[in-house]
């Protein structure tokens, strides 16, 4: 049983999604319940990844390997370590949320909608567990398709533009990754990612491979300056699409840096770490200012996502400067902080997009100026919204604080100026988030439509409450998560610091 757990996690939702399509849009209620049951089942199963996880080793666990295309030595090879395991659980968790979120709102082809999310869940779990380069690439590209459809079919008025922009942009990025994978196969004779970790590469080769990977991952994260597809995609995507996009798909980019860039091209990562840090800091500071002046709530949160993801790449690439042979904490704080930031951002951005979704479902407007004084008609909802806004602003006690705190502490040890610039998020992040809160939730009611708003129903309440709980638990007690990833991260740190030359 245990040996096939990962495969089940990948294929159960994909096949289940197929089944839901077969059920058809006419049997929508059955389709909804079945999707929910499937997603809950997959989530519960994914928890046994954690409970069965051995955090004392960095080796891959739950490994499955069988030949796929034997003549090219391509294998169906999957497994997880402390890094990917957490991301998989985040994926299975978020999928439940989006299925419940789309419950009533999606009336257009509801079965297909649910199926798209289920299939995407399986494909993304595939991305996080693939240990074979080609398998990884296949899942990576395949996961674009459901998202393309979600934006393109259930999106807003300008959905085709956004969907195509999203698709072309990310697709273009990953082509370069494929080239590097093939290059390394030609050199080392194996598509196994773990073999690539040990493949010796010259400076020039590493530089080329590093930038090829960079294009693929930076677009996904997204890093400045290849970020402009994200606001467009978010604005057009339905709420569930935004949630998955922000909570999971962006993490695929961050994960790429962890799994590919650092261990495969350690010397190039060191060489170009300055560039990466500069881009990360631009994301944190510049994007923060851009977020401040947004009038569309979803755009604001999209920009805020970019800014928060800047902490991930900052934490990853600050490790080279923060590293000190007598004291690993600086580098580890950066890396583990980046990881925590990814998980935490998964919850917080999901929550923020759901909050906007709740408002959008009622008044069909994402404009900040439409609202004002929402607390008067929706007090419970406002309570949640303020909590998540505070988490977004990195308030201690919420998960948003933990990652930023760790990355900033690590950055101080790399270069105080990095920390100074990164810390401006304390001010700017609070400014754009709370200014939005002020204009949307506080104040007197100016738009009569706001007065008629109904407070959240039980379904919405339970989604937000679960997210609130997650955000608080991670904020108050992050240790279990750190413990489970620590050995893997330490191993990764060693790989990143060991020259291949």
């Amino acid at each position: 049983m245990q040996n096939t757990l990962l495969s089940l996690l990948i294929w159960l939702p994909i096949l289940g999604g197929g089944l839901v399509i077969l059920l058809g849009n006419k049997r929508a209620t059955t389709a909804r319940w079945m999707s929910l049951a499937l997603s809950v089942l997959v989530f519960v199963m994914s928890l046994s990844l954690w409970t069965g996880f051995d955090s004392s080793t960095h080796l891959m666990q739950f490994v499955e390997k069988s030949a796929w295309i034997a003549q090219f030595n391509i294998n169906y090879h999957i497994g997880v370590d402390g890094i990917s395991m957490l991301l998989i659980i985040l994926t299975t968790f978020s999928t439940i949320l989006v299925i419940v979120t789309g419950w009533e709102v999606i009336q257009k082809q509801p079965a297909h909608y649910m199926a798209a999310f289920l299939m995407m869940e399986g494909l993304i779990i595939g991305v996080f567990s693939a240990l074979d380069g080609i398998l990884f690439y296949a899942f990576w590209e395949a996961s674009l398709i459901p998202m393309l459809l979600i934006v393109g079919i259930w999106g807003g008025d300008n959905r085709i533009y956004a969907a195509i922009k999203f698709f072309l942009y990310t697709f273009l990025g990953s082509v370069f990754m494929l080239i590097s994978l093939i290059y390394m196969y030609n050199k080392g004779g194996s598509f196994s990612i773990l073999d690539m970790h040990n493949l010796s590469l010259t400076v020039t080769e590493q530089a080329w491979i590093f930038w090829a990977f960079f294009i693929a991952f930076a677009v996904k994260v997204p890093m400045f300056p290849v970020h402009t597809w994200l606001p467009d995609a978010h604005v057009q995507a339905p709420t569930g699409g935004s949630v998955i996009l922000a909570a999971i798909m962006l993490k695929m980019g961050g994960y790429g840096f962890f799994r590919f860039s650092l261990p495969i091209t350690p010397d190039a990562s060191l060489q170009f770490s300055d560039v990466m840090i500069v881009l990360s800091l631009i994301a944190v500071v510049y994007i923060g200012f851009v977020a401040l002046v947004q009038r569309d709530m979803k755009k604001l949160i999209a920009y805020s996502s970019i800014s928060h993801m800047g902490f991930v790449t900052l934490g990853v690439f600050a490790l080279f400067l923060a590293y000190n042979p007598n004291n690993l904490e600086g580098a580890l704080l950066g890396l583990e902080g980046a990881m925590i930031q990814m998980i935490s951002h998964g919850f917080i951005s999901a929550a923020m997009f759901l909050v906007v979704g709740v408002l959008y479902d009622r008044l069909h407007s994402r404009e900040i100026s439409t609202y004002g004084g929402v607390i008067n008609s929706m007090p419970k909802f406002t309570g949640f919204a303020v909590l998540f806004a505070m988490a977004n602003a990195g308030l201690p006690g919420t998960s948003g604080f933990v990652g930023e705190f760790m990355v900033i502490l690590g950055a101080v040890q790399a270069n105080i100026w990095y920390a100074v610039l990164a810390s401006t998020t304390l001010i700017v992040g609070a400014a754009y988030t709370l200014w939005m809160v002020k204009r949307v939730f506080w104040g007197a009611i100016t738009n009569p439509a706001v007065e008629t708003l109904n407070d959240i129903n039980g379904r919405e309440f339970s989604i937000l409450a679960i997210l609130a709980l997650a955000v608080l638990v991670i904020g108050l007690y992050p240790q279990p998560m750190i413990e489970v990833m620590h050995t893997s991260i330490e191993h990764l740190l060693n790989q990143a610091l060991t020259s291949k030359l």
Binding site: K165, L168, Y169, P225, T228, W229, Y286, F289, V290, A291, L292, V293, Q294, N327, E329, G330, L332, L333, E336, G373, I375, N376, V386, M390, L395, P396, G397, F401, V402, F405, M406, I408, L409, A411, V412, Q413, I416, A419, V420, S423, T424, L426, I427, A430, A431, L434, W435, K438, F441, W442, G443, A444, L476, Y477, P478, Q479, I482, E483, H486, E490
Partner: protein
């Protein structure tokens, strides 16, 4: 003991949770009983803790509760450090909080969010306990931000008021500016010591020797960064701008959060960090000067305020400045002493002001009051006690603490200490002037109250009067009782470190005989006569010759303008920071993000591809004969080339 500490912290939290989630179901009285009970338990236990740690000289308690995070050798935990300093803070916070809880019953009785208010103030009490009991920087920062959060929620409690929700945003953001420095300071501390635990950090302070950053001593930079945090929370110039705005919140929280407890967190923090600040005279000098500027110049603003709460607010700013000055001259225990006396008399003054506001049907302009003495005798006498304590009338609690600060500055060897000495002396006059100006305008003289209000004027209900009386007691006697043990008999010795080169405390001890002697000695000191002068001037301008006040205002128009525009801080911030940053954001968004990156580069490359294909497209006509023609034509060229050209032509011409 650990169970006692946990109970102190958790009982207000439990109260807050019950009130927050079930307040509407439980109803009003059940809610306030539960939350008051929670704080009462904390208060009683805090007194026990005080007895054990301070009176019985029990051992310092320093223990972790749980590991928040373990990264290799770095352990960040949640834990308690309880010693004399913490015990004093616990008693002050819990007692004032208890009084404010009781007071709220009367003050907020008509508010629809009554239960929510109780939930918030209990949550605040919890957060403040976390802050003062912390044994490490992470938890300190947690408490620090948590009190900021509750302050944000409470300033904006009446969320329908635009001014309130503007003020709470401003308060949060200005505090975040302070936290920005604070967090960087914590980062540097971790970098040099490898720990965030106070005790471990203090042990490794030697690591900073000869280390520099930004061409200053590392420890100086660390202290200055931490002090930036303190400037935010304790509202020191120029980060003071949020505190007057915070008066938009209901009066009970102005007393609890924005006078007695939260705003003194910065003072507490610097005292806690005394081993660090003692290593840097530069940092101490900065602390002292910032404090002096705040003490004097914010006091001056109190003179031109006409809103009863704003007067008390500026007085709070000024008194926080006094505490900061005490920190700067290494008289940490004096700062804590003033923090304590101030907490009692300032809470009393705010609650007294609230009592007046309730009686006046939420009219806060002191020009529309007058002669309230006969309607509200208990409020009158308790506010008089608070005012006498504030101006430092001999015998009252504020007298001792303020006098000690002034003397400590007098003995300080720091550069500019002599100038600071004048500032704090003049400050005494200013304090007496604005305090009694308000007092006379509110309670004495002829009534300027609106006719319809007069009919309803009466003393406030018991729930409001009782806390006033309870706070009046310590405002009167606490200074007399505690000055000797707290400053000179070692209540705080285990918590505070003073290096031998900073002589202020030694000199103070040398000069001090007894609390009683101080009273009789007072007449021979300058501060006493400054205070008397302030009271008399206030009487002249507000009761005896009110036309003189108008004359001064018109004659010194420019000075008056400077004061009334609050030195232009708000306008400067509005123009430079608020509008400047909005403009910057707009330019970055529209020009750089939308136009250059998105339109030109991203969509531009898409258009380029489209352009190229539009050029190539006509070639693909779809007519077979076009293709056939191209094929044959091309073949011709290739054949020609192969036959006649190249390195080895097949046919020689």
């Amino acid at each position: 003991m650990v169970n006692i500490y946990l109970t102190i912290i958790l009982s207000p939290l439990l109260g807050a949770i019950i009130a927050g989630f079930f307040g509407r179901i439980l109803g009003r009285s059940a809610t306030h009983i539960i939350t008051i009970l929670g704080v009462l338990i904390s208060t009683v236990l805090a007194l026990m803790v005080f007895d054990y740690h301070v009176l019985e000289k029990g051992a310092v308690f320093n223990q972790n509760i749980y590991t928040w995070m373990q990264v290799n050798g770095l352990n960040i935990s949640v834990g308690f450090l309880v010693d004399g300093l913490t015990s004093v803070m616990l008693v002050v916070v819990s007692f004032v909080s208890l009084m404010v809880h009781i007071y709220t019953i009367g003050y907020m009785s008509h508010d629809k969010d009554y239960t929510k208010f109780f939930s918030y103030i209990s949550l605040f009490t919890f957060s403040m306990f976390v802050l003062v009991m912390s044994n490490n920087f992470m938890q300190l920062f947690f408490g620090w931000e948590a009190v900021g959060l509750v302050s944000y929620l409470l300033i904006g409690f009446w969320h329908h008021k635009e001014s309130a929700v503007e003020a709470n945003l401003k308060a949060f953001l200005v505090n975040r500016v302070g936290d920005f420095g604070f967090l960087l300071g914590i980062g540097l501390i971790l970098a040099f010591s490898g720990s965030l635990d106070y005790a471990e950090v203090f042990v490794s302070l030697g690591n900073t020797d000869n280390q520099t950053i930004w061409s200053m001593d590392l420890i100086t930079v660390v202290c200055l960064l931490l002090f930036v945090g303190a400037m935010g929370k304790s509202a020191q110039v120029p980060l003071h701008v949020w505190l007057p705005g915070s008066m938009e919140g209901p009066t009970p929280i102005s007393a609890l959060i924005h006078a007695a407890t939260m705003v003194t967190a910065g003072i507490f923090m610097v005292s806690r960090m005394s081993p660090m600040f003692e290593m840097s005279d530069v940092a101490l000098t900065v602390v002292m000067i910032v404090g002096a500027i705040t003490a004097l110049f914010m006091g001056l603003l109190g003179i031109v305020q006409n809103d009863i709460k704003k007067v008390v607010a500026y007085s709070t700013l000024s008194q926080l400045g006094y505490m900061t000055v005490a920190l700067g001259v290494s008289a940490y225990s004096v700062a804590i002493f003033h923090l304590m006396t101030h907490a009692f008399f300032k809470a009393l003054l705010f609650l007294g002001a609230g009592s007046v506001i309730v009686a006046m049907h939420h009219e806060q302009d002191i020009r529309k009051m007058g002669g309230l003495k006969k309607y509200m005798p208990i409020t009158y006498w308790t506010v008089l006690i608070g005012t006498l304590a504030l101006v430092g009338f001999p015998g009252f609690s504020g007298f001792y603490s303020k006098d000690m600060i002034i003397e400590a500055v007098n003995f300080s060897q720091l550069p500019y200490a002599n100038l600071v000495y004048y500032a704090v002396i003049i400050g005494v006059f200013v304090t007496a002037f604005y305090s009694f100006r308000m007092f006379f305008l509110v309670f004495h003289g002829e009534s300027r109250v609106k006719h319809e209000t007069v009919k309803h004027l009466h003393e406030s209900p018991l729930s409001i009067i009782f806390p006033l009386m309870m706070l009046a007691i310590p405002s009167t006697i606490i200074g007399y009782l505690t000055i000797e043990p707290m400053l000179f008999k070692g209540w705080l010795d285990e918590s505070i470190t003073v290096t031998s080169s900073h002589m202020s405390m030694v000199d103070l001890k040398h000069e001090f005989h007894s609390a009683l002697v101080m009273i009789f000695h007072a007449i021979q000191t300058i501060p006493f006569w400054m205070m008397i002068g302030g009271i008399i001037s206030a009487w002249v301008f507000s009761l005896y010759k009110t036309q003189w006040a108008d004359w001064v205002q018109t004659t010194f128009k420019r000075t008056n303008y400077v004061l009334e525009s609050l030195y232009g801080f708000d306008r400067f911030n509005e123009i430079v920071f608020v509008n400047g940053i909005k403009k910057l954001g707009h330019i970055l968004w529209k020009v750089s993000d939308s136009t250059i990156i998105d339109s030109m580069i991203v969509n531009g490359s898409a258009r380029f591809v489209g352009f190229v294909s539009s050029v190539i497209r006509p070639i693909q006509t779809g007519y077979v004969y076009h293709y056939a023609f191209f094929m044959i034509f091309s073949l011709l060229i290739i054949l020609t080339w192969a036959l006649f050209m190249g390195d080895k032509p097949l046919l020689e011409i």
